[in-house]
């Protein structure tokens, strides 16, 4: 039950993965989050979060058969699962409901 809820950083990761589609892998996901939020993301934090999300069944990690990365470097791509998409939707709606009626503009 509690696993339906996503931590803030996990939400960012899921959203970035969703945006990037087929091109979502370590470097691109981190770049996207850094670009959009302005905060630095460490490789360690990203992989830890991805592993946790995979365990919850929210993301699917896969290594393409032919190493498509530059100079033959291994890449692990990620995509959202059905549950993952549901969890994002759930989290977003919870956020909206919580924020409802809160005067955010100063």
């Amino acid at each position: 039950m509690s696993e339906r809820f996503l931590a803030e950083f996990e939400l960012y990761v899921m959203l970035a993965v969703a945006q990037l589609g087929d091109d979502a892998y370590g470097v691109s996901v981190r770049r996207r989050i850094e670009d959009r939020t302005g905060r630095t993301v460490s490789v360690g934090a990203l992989y830890t979060a991805l592993a946790r999300l995979e365990k919850k069944g929210f993301v699917h990690l896969h290594e393409p058969d032919s190493s498509s990365g530059r100079r033959g470097r291994p890449r692990r791509y990620c995509s959202l699962t059905e549950e993952g998409l549901g969890a994002v939707r759930h989290s977003m709606s919870m956020l909206e409901r919580m924020a409802d009626g809160v005067a955010l503009e100063a």
Binding site: S42, G44, Y47, K55, R71, G72, R73, P74, R75
Partner: protein, 909 residues
């Protein structure tokens, strides 16, 4: 990780990369590192190598924490316990948990720490001793890799003997690869210090000894050849240990004048701690220049005699010279010496005696001694190891029992999400606290033990001391032992404990249900191993005790009871032989007339002590014998009355008489072996043979035959022996023996009635002859004491283990027993059934242990003087003790069954 060498990664900070790789989870490592590489390449292209490297490091730094969390948080137990930040924290958390556990059951902790601590202490101590005796480390030597020992072959064919002082010059000149050659000869002299009279075991060394070895003084100075040549030779350098014993470590010692062997010596310096003699594996007490102990402070005739070999000879290689080169020069020198003195340089088998050059490291212990020392040392290591093994298996048993009791707790943890691995880790962590405490206790025991051994002086005048130290190496070995022991006792329980049947364990909350007998195999095996180890120790100790028993019962061939002895050197008086004989007669008569004295006699050396001398004899009388006619014999010159006083049986002819004096024909009394060796089946009386005295031969006529005795060592093979009359074979160095109702009654007379003149030497202080003799049994006494204590300790541990197993079985099967009793079984039958299980385990172990000892003892027959490995007394004694103890340890807990209340026990369910 084969990706480390891929192209394009050039310039990546390697240490950072390595660090991150270690912290990342195995699943992520490849990808995360590849990501960073990709970014690194881009950063290099965009802003240069320097900034790219800085950025990489920042990334790694920021990633370490989350990576570790990812790595270890992923394994499971993130539900109940909080997620630890690092391995260290995880372990610390486990340790804290275990401390809380021990606080509830402090007895378990105490028993564990005590048994392991003693086991660890014993093995560290054994290791320290082993190393100190068999592999000592050099102390105080300068550039020891350049030092060599020059051994000379001995008459009986050994390679590693000592050189004669007279040959040192020839060695120095004959081996150009050596800078210099120095010699050291063993001495033993009493000293009068502020703390009373002490006996020192030291070395008489050539004046260049300190220059050559590079041994410096820790206080004061050492002597040099110039000083000895120009000044007073009566200077002494004290060993550190002797400085403590004689002067209590006082700095005023340097410069003081002391009476050493009856002579006035000036202490000029103190050597650093731990400098040991190269002649025996003990610290050197004192160094004096060669000749300083003899009359007039000059090197006397006896020393100059080329047949007197007493010097362990050291050399220092020139820079660039090798041992091989020095050896070939040494061999040529040996040939030259053989040409010059063919008789002295030929051994009993007619071969030329070789000179062998051995490195300093190879000669710290005399090579012939090392093999024997290693064997005995290995035996002690084995004994200590067995004690530790018993302690470990006992504690393991305790922990298994504890794990079973905690079955419910473990099951609860498991059901709350702890993985099997997590539980094993937790159980292993429980070994950390007792392991650490036991390690500390073990080191303390080893330290105190070495101190105690260092303070151990034997009940003889010879101050043999072991200088075993707890140093870095010993500590390292102790640490490894502790870790190994800790793992050994916690792995089995951890594996057992982790194998929890959730349903069964939770259902029966007291943890008494579930187990089948077949599940206790590990613990049963431990009991068998313990009993085997204990049987080994006890039986080994019993064999040594028996050996000691047999050895002390052995017919020595003489009776040391009631005799006290002291030695004296009157060579400073420079008496002629005739005057010397008069002196000896007067001394003997005066001592014999004292009221407490039954008999007094004077002899050159004493039976069965360290002071025996060999001599060459030939039965081809009349002419100078050829070298192949020479034979070895021991010889002692004694006054009339000596043979009678020692109760040496005269078999044929007569003992020595007052009439065998300096004016009469030279006569001798020989022993049976002498007769068998030289005149088998013939009448030896009135036969004439010659004895080598210096380089000349003197003819002696046999007037009597005495029974064989023990002369140098109690288990030496029968040796030809010759008694001559001191009146005809005079020496200014002799021993005075007094017989009284007891040795102690006449002992003080040797102090009060002998007035030493200035310059007179007393090598052996007044002592009881039986004590001197008992020195011969010292190694047996030490071995049986050590093994005996090991056996007693092992027995205690094994009894505890057996008790634990049976008590546990009783508790486990309380319900079954109650049911059987309720159904009408006799309580006694049930008790018997339980006891039988314990006794069966013990019996298997004992048989294994005894068979092991019998097998091992075959290799050590030489040490077990006349006792067979299957000695019935030792075997029956050992089995008797083991049976009594195992029976008690089994029956006491089994008797609990007699008190079982079937209703109460069954009602609990």
């Amino acid at each position: 990780m084969g990706d480390s060498k891929r192209e394009g990664t050039h310039g990546i900070p390697r240490v950072s990369r390595w660090l991150l790789a270690r912290c990342l989870h195995d699943d992520d490592r490849r990808f995360a590192l590849a990501d960073l590489e990709e970014e690194f390449d881009e950063a290099v292209a965009a802003s240069g190598l320097r900034r790219a490297r800085a950025q990489y490091r920042r990334q790694v730094f920021a990633s370490l924490g989350p990576a570790l969390r990812g790595r270890f948080g992923r394994t499971g137990s993130n539900t109940l316990t909080r997620t630890p930040d690092s391995i260290l924290r995880a372990v610390l958390a486990d340790v804290r948990t275990s401390v809380r556990g021990y606080a509830r059951t402090p007895l378990v902790l105490v028993v564990t720490v005590l048994s392991l601590g003693v086991g660890i202490g014993a093995s560290s101590l054994a290791f320290a001793l082993f190393r100190s005796v068999v592999y000592p480390s050099p102390v105080g030597l300068e550039a020891p890799e350049q030092l060599v020992t020059l051994y000379r072959g001995t008459p009986d064919g050994e390679r590693h003997g000592h050189q004669a002082w007279a040959d040192l010059d020839a060695l120095r000149e004959g081996i150009p690869q050596l800078v210099d050659v120095a010699g050291a000869s063993m001495i033993n002299a009493s000293v009068e210090g502020p703390l009373g009279r002490q006996t020192l075991l030291g070395e008489e060394v050539t004046p260049n000894y300190f220059d050559l070895t590079g041994i410096h003084a820790a206080a004061g100075r050492v002597f040099s050849p110039e000083e000895i040549r120009s000044g007073d030779p009566r200077v002494a350098v004290l060993g550190y240990d002797a400085w403590q014993r004689v002067f209590g470590g006082s700095v005023d010692a340097v410069g003081q004048v002391v009476r050493l062997a009856g002579l006035s010596f000036t202490i000029i310096g103190v050597a650093p701690e731990g400098v040991r003699s190269r002649l025996i594996p003990f610290p050197t007490d004192v160094w004096v220049p060669v000749g300083s102990l003899s009359a007039g402070g000059v090197i006397n005739e006896e020393r100059r005699d080329p047949s007197s070999r007493g010097f362990l000879t050291l050399g220092r290689l020139r820079t660039g010279a090798t041992i091989v080169q020095a050896q070939s020069s040494a061999s040529r020198t040996a040939e030259a010496l053989h040409d010059e003195r063919p008789v002295l340089w030929t051994d009993d088998a007619g071969r030329a005696q070789p000179i062998t050059v051995v490195s300093e490291a190879g000669s710290r212990v005399r090579p012939e001694l090392r093999a024997g020392g290693s064997l005995i040392g290995a035996f002690f290591l084995l004994a200590a190891g067995l004690v530790l093994a018993v302690a470990c298996s006992n504690v393991a048993g305790l922990f298994i029992a504890r794990a079973r009791k905690r079955r419910a707790e473990l099951a609860l943890r498991r059901s709350l999400g702890a993985t099997r691995g997590r539980l094993i880790r937790m159980m292993l962590a429980e070994g950390v606290v007792p392991g650490t405490l036991a390690g500390i206790l073990g080191v303390s025991i080893a330290y105190l033990g070495t101190e105690a051994i260092g303070a151990l002086t034997l009940p003889v005048d010879v101050p043999l001391r072991l200088d075993a130290d707890v140093d870095g190496l010993v500590l390292a070995v102790t640490f490894l032992t502790t870790v190994a022991a800790g793992l050994a006792f916690s792995i089995a329980p951890a594996l057992e404990g982790a194998r929890v049947d959730l349903y069964a364990a939770l259902k029966s909350a007291r943890g008494t249900g579930g187990g089948r007998r077949s599940r206790f195999r590990i613990k049963d095996g431990l009991v068998v191993a313990q009993c085997a180890a204990t049987a080994t120790l006890l039986f080994g100790a019993a064999l040594f005790f028996r050996t000691l028993d047999v050895a002390t019962d052995v017919d020595l061939g003489f009776d040391p009871d009631g005799i006290a002895v002291a030695s004296r050197d009157i060579s400073t008086r420079e008496l002629s032989d005739r005057e010397g004989v008069q002196f000896v007669r007067r001394l003997r008569d005066r001592m014999a007339s004292l009221p407490e004295v039954r008999a007094a006699a004077i002899s050159r050396s004493l039976e069965l002590t360290l002071y025996q001398m060999g001599t060459s004899v030939s039965v081809a009388a009349g002419v100078e014998p050829a070298s192949d006619q020479l034979a070895e014999a021991w010889r002692n010159a004694v006054t009339p009355g000596y043979i009678e006083m020692m109760d040496i049986p005269v078999i044929a002819g007569r003992a020595l008489l007052e009439s065998d004096d300096e004016d009469a024909e030279s006569v001798a009394v020989v022993n049976e072996t002498f007769v068998e060796r030289h005149w088998p089946g013939e009448d030896p009386l009135d036969r004439v043979f010659s004895v080598r005295v210096g380089e000349a031969y003197v003819a002696y006529r046999v007037v009597g035959v005495v029974a064989d005795g023990t002369y140098r060592d109690f288990d030496d093979p029968p040796t030809p022996f010759v008694f001559t009359s001191l009146y005809q074979d005079f020496t200014p160095r002799f021993a005075i023996a007094l017989e009284g109702s007891t040795a102690e009654a006449v002992l003080p007379l040797l102090r009060s009635e002998i007035d030493l003149d200035e310059g007179e030497v007393q090598m052996v202080g007044p002592s009881v002859l039986a004590d001197q003799v008992s020195f011969q049994f010292m190694h047996l006494r030490i071995a049986s004491t050590v093994l005996g204590w090991g056996g007693i300790f092992g027995l205690l541990l094994a009894a505890m283990g057996l008790y634990g197993v049976v008590a546990f079985a009783v508790a486990q099967r309380a319900r079954e027993m109650a049911l059987r009793i309720a159904l009408g079984a006799e309580r006694l039958d049930v008790t018997r059934a339980v006891a039988r299980e314990g006794l069966t385990l013990a019996a298997i172990g004992v048989v294994v242990g005894v068979v092991f000892v019998v097998w091992v003892a075959r290799f050590g027959q030489g040490i077990l003087f006349g006792v067979r490995p299957t000695d019935p007394v030792a075997l029956i004694g050992t089995l008797g003790v083991l049976f009594a103890v195992t029976l008690t340890a089994t029956l006491v807990p089994a008797r609990q069954i007699l008190r079982v209340d079937p209703m109460a026990t069954l009602g609990r369910e």
